[in-house]
């Protein structure tokens, strides 16, 4: 397996422009002869499908929800970054680039990040023109806020529903192309495998989730924008349907999986309330702009928050990070919360929580101002917990939220499989070991609106692609394998539900490959996961038929893939014997508990090659060069 990142030469600010000029073009009249398969209709998939169709390609788009508008991107709350510098506060493309490389703890590719920062400005223009109702100032201009620890205000937002509004924008563009007959949309359709012909990605096999029909789709290129895999932890902030299946199937066919262990644990989520819990709800990070985080100084203090006097509270983030305070980056804020709970200072019935307190902000700005800013979030909190955050502090705890890892892609967003392009959260490209707040929406839309439309043309123009069709043997063989897996799942008829396996896997991953990882714990997980996988294949109970709408069967297929993928995550975490960003190895920390990177040995992307289920995957390294940003210890003190 060869990892050629195809980073263009030249000064960083010119790379993308010169690359675009060097890319081959396809004559407008010829574009419609090319079929492009887009899997996913989130920000990345919908923007790609719409834009490719506008250019003239013949596009098919797939999602498992009943409508493309319901992709998980819809849930993003806080905002989207762009280096517009509308606030005149010193932002620039270079600063956004710099912040993103530093925030990613120097584990991302400079060239990709620079391009992302450049494109960020076009995204806002595009979205505003589509009618995305961004927040405005009284003069009619766009408003911004500072988000996720940035020292400039570069985040554009639409109340607490930025993802929803951006996705509805992309969905409207996609709908326009569906109406024009340029995109054929397949909702409630799940990709279950990738079809390779002559070593290239040439199609997919899908299951119609309503009728159970297995079908093949052939094309000249495949674009996967299938999102992240935080649900490997069972409990996460992600939507219930998020999964790793498309990525994993492609990985099994030869696509390298990069940095699978880089997971972001978000510090501000509502704590678990009981065993029935099916998912965790994120409280937007923007709350940290006004809320103060604290725990009682005394261990096991059971007094109500209001009865704990000021001098008996530990505002630990303000204490530890005086210049960033409550806005310290996500990974730090999460780990410090865990530390406090480990010390016995956690709050709430389970002791797994810290306070996020708005009383000072309400005293300063008035309840009305706070309500205007965060009213919807306060209401949501009350709905879920039955507690009123205007009267008592919120309780929060970290939860898995975003996966920086994903399929390895080159500068053109193509995986190690020719013709398979990967966009959005599904790829690994831009966030290194830790993603900054409001940067995922930016990346998904950058990939879909402004990168893939250029780079896919170059691939199609350069490659000799023979005609293929679903009746070819490669398609029929792949379909057969998909059917066999389904039949096997249905025939086990064991005693345990799919969910019970998913929960157990989630617990293993949270305990051993979660916020803090150790050599010992990871090795333990590598014993437990195969055992659980064996039990799954002998004892899972999936009722009903394959030729019908069958939600247990859908879940079973996804959990089966998680049970293979989880091992890869642990291998990756085990071999990366350093701490960086979202990957924290307890053996590698400074005296005061901060992550200790090892640039000498680990300044690389770990790209893994599949070698068979249960067999140790093969590691390939892409070295990261830092020519523009000086490697430094990330300090937020």
């Amino acid at each position: 397996m060869e990892l050629n990142s195809k980073i263009p030469s030249g000064p960083i600010q010119d790379k993308w422009d010169s690359h675009k000029f060097n890319l081959k073009l396809i004559n407008p009249a010829n574009k419609r002869k090319y079929q492009v398969i887009v899997v996913g209709s989130g920000l990345a998939g919908a923007s790609a499908a719409a834009t490719l169709a506008e250019l003239g390609y013949d596009v098919k788009c797939f999602c498992f929800q009943d409508s493309p508008r319901r992709a998980h991107s819809i849930a993003a709350q806080g905002g989207i970054n762009a280096a517009k510098n509308y606030q005149n506060d010193g932002d620039s493309i270079y600063r956004l680039f710099y912040d993103t490389v530093k925030g990613g703890d120097f584990r991302s590719r400079e060239a990709n990040v620079y391009r992302l920062a450049q494109i960020s400005v076009n995204i806002i223009d595009q979205a505003a023109a589509q009618g995305v109702p961004f927040a405005r100032e009284y003069g009619g201009m766009l408003a911004n806020r500072s988000f996720g620890g940035a020292q400039v205000s570069r985040t554009f937002y639409a109340r607490g529903q930025t993802g929803q509004q951006l996705l509805l924008g992309a969905y409207s563009a996609l709908s326009r192309m569906i109406a024009a007959g340029k995109v054929k949309m397949y909702p409630r359709t799940e990709m279950l495998d990738l079809v390779m012909v002559d070593g290239k990605a040439r199609g997919i096999v899908t299951r119609d989730l309503t009728t159970g029909k297995i079908e093949s789709h052939a094309g000249h290129a495949v674009v996967m924008a299938t999102g992240g895999y935080s649900t490997v932890f069972y409990l996460s902030t992600n939507a219930m349907g998020c999964n790793v299946t498309a990525n994993w199937r492609a990985h099994r066919k030869g696509a390298a999986f990069a940095n699978p262990c880089y997971t972001q644990i978000h510090p501000t989520c509502i704590p678990v309330s009981g065993d029935h819990q099916s998912k965790l709800t994120l409280m937007s990070e923007s709350l940290r702009n006004d809320g103060r985080i604290w725990v009682p100084k005394k261990k096991g203090d059971t007094r109500a928050a209001k009865d704990i006097p000021e001098n008996e509270r530990d505002y630990y983030l303000e204490r530890l990070y005086p210049s960033f305070g409550n806005l310290a980056p996500r990974d730090l804020a999460s780990r410090r919360a865990k530390d406090m709970c480990d010390l016995g200072q956690g709050v709430g019935a389970t002791g797994l929580g810290v306070y996020l307190d708005f009383s000072d902000a309400m005293k300063r700005d008035g309840e009305a101002t706070i309500s205007e800013k965060y009213g919807n979030l306060f209401d949501m909190y009350e709905r879920i917990t039955g507690e009123n955050p205007y009267r008592q502090p919120m309780r929060i705890f970290p939860a898995p939220h975003y996966t920086m890892g994903g399929l390895w892609v080159d500068y053109n967003l193509m995986s190690t499989i020719p013709g398979l392009h990967v966009l959005g959260e599904a790829n690994f490209s831009d966030h290194g070991a830790n993603r900054l707040g409001a940067s995922a929406l930016m990346q998904g839309l950058a990939d879909g609106y402004f990168v893939i439309p250029y780079t896919i043309g170059d691939y199609l123009a350069r490659e000799e692609l023979k005609d293929v069709s679903p009746s070819d043997s490669e398609f029929i063989e792949t379909e057969k394998q998909v059917r066999q897996k389904i039949d096997r799942l249905l025939s086990i008829d064991g005693t345990r539900t799919v969910d019970s396996f998913h929960r157990e896997l989630g617990r293993i991953m949270w305990n051993h490959c979660g916020m803090a990882r150790t050599d010992k714990g990871l090795k333990e997980a590598l014993v437990k996961i195969p055992e659980l996988r064996d039990e799954f294949w002998n004892n899972v109970r999936v009722l009903g038929e394959g030729s019908d709408l069958n939600q247990s069967l859908e879940k079973a297929g996804r959990v089966a893939d998680f049970l293979e993928f989880a091992e890869l995550m642990c291998h990756d975490a085990l071999t990366r014997a350093e701490s960086c960003g979202g990957h924290f190895r307890e053996e590698h920390q400074t005296e005061d508990g901060e992550a200790k990177r090892n640039d000498e040995e680990y300044s690389h992307v770990s790209a893994w090659e599949f070698t068979g289920v249960g067999s140790t995957p093969k590691l390939h390294k892409e070295n990261l060069e830092f020519e523009n940003v000086k490697l430094a210890t990330r300090s937020y003190k």
């Binding site: 506008e54 929800q65 009943d66 409508s67 493309p68 508008r69 319901r70 998980h72 819809i74 849930a75 076009n122 223009d125 595009q126 979205a127 505003a128 023109a129 589509q130 009618g131 961004f134 405005r136 003069g139 009619g140 201009m141 766009l142 639409a158 529903q161 929803q164 509004q165 509805l168 409207s172 563009a173 709908s175 326009r176 569906i178 909702p187 939507a239 219930m240 349907g241 309330s273 009981g274 029935h276 099916s278 998912k279 709800t281 949501m380 709905r383 879920i384 039955g386 609106y449 402004f450 439309p453 005693t495 969910d499 109970r541 009722l543 009903g544 019908d548 709408l549 939600q551 247990s552």
Partner: protein, 248 residues
Amino acid sequence: MKLTLHVWRQKSTSQKGAFETHVMDSVSPDMSFLEMLDELNQALITNGKEPVAFDHDCREGICGSCGVVINGRPHGPQRATTACQLHMRSYQDGQEIWVEPWRASAFPVVKDLMVDRTSFDRIIQSGGFISVRTGSAPDANEIPVPKVDADKAFDAAACIGCGACVAACPNASAMLFTAAKVSHMGLLPQGQPEREQRVLSMVSTMDEEGFGSCTNHKECQEACPKEISIDYISRMNRDYVCASKNKG
């Protein structure tokens, strides 16, 4: 808590459905309504019975996937709350709960509590967009939008497309859904060039899809988890009349 649950079971669109009764012995008040259904499903599978099919994804009240009628009310009793955000502390020990799918001929039942809402997508496809090719947009601040207009547009754009408005309406009308999109775009300067064409096509698609007409019951506004106001319906009606006149 102990609850008696009557759940609608229907194998497919063409088959007839019926209520099935289950007694749940230990429901926690901290569970969401969907988590209560998860528990029911775990028990059903353990007893060799097929679980109840229902749509859901985000479980945060934003994707619009979930949607069931609970004791006659879409999304249940709590104002401005989707079924996934409704918590069992809204119910009392010993209560009986009836759960059924949206009922509307434009939303055929797919299975159990799941319905086919692709008619909503087709309404959007007929005009719920601003035609702007990727790359052709001017600088975002070149189109100033007064804050009041932006806020009003946002209130309409908050629609999650769940279909509760249709389920609540005695005529199964999709006026609130359609009006929300027409108004979101019609209130913004970017939406002006296509404003008349948009309202004409979307209303006509809405009719073709078999949604009923609006006779002012206001049930849609009551049921809407995003509290979208029926004022947008009046606004759409005015736009429609105006556009029809201009078209002649």
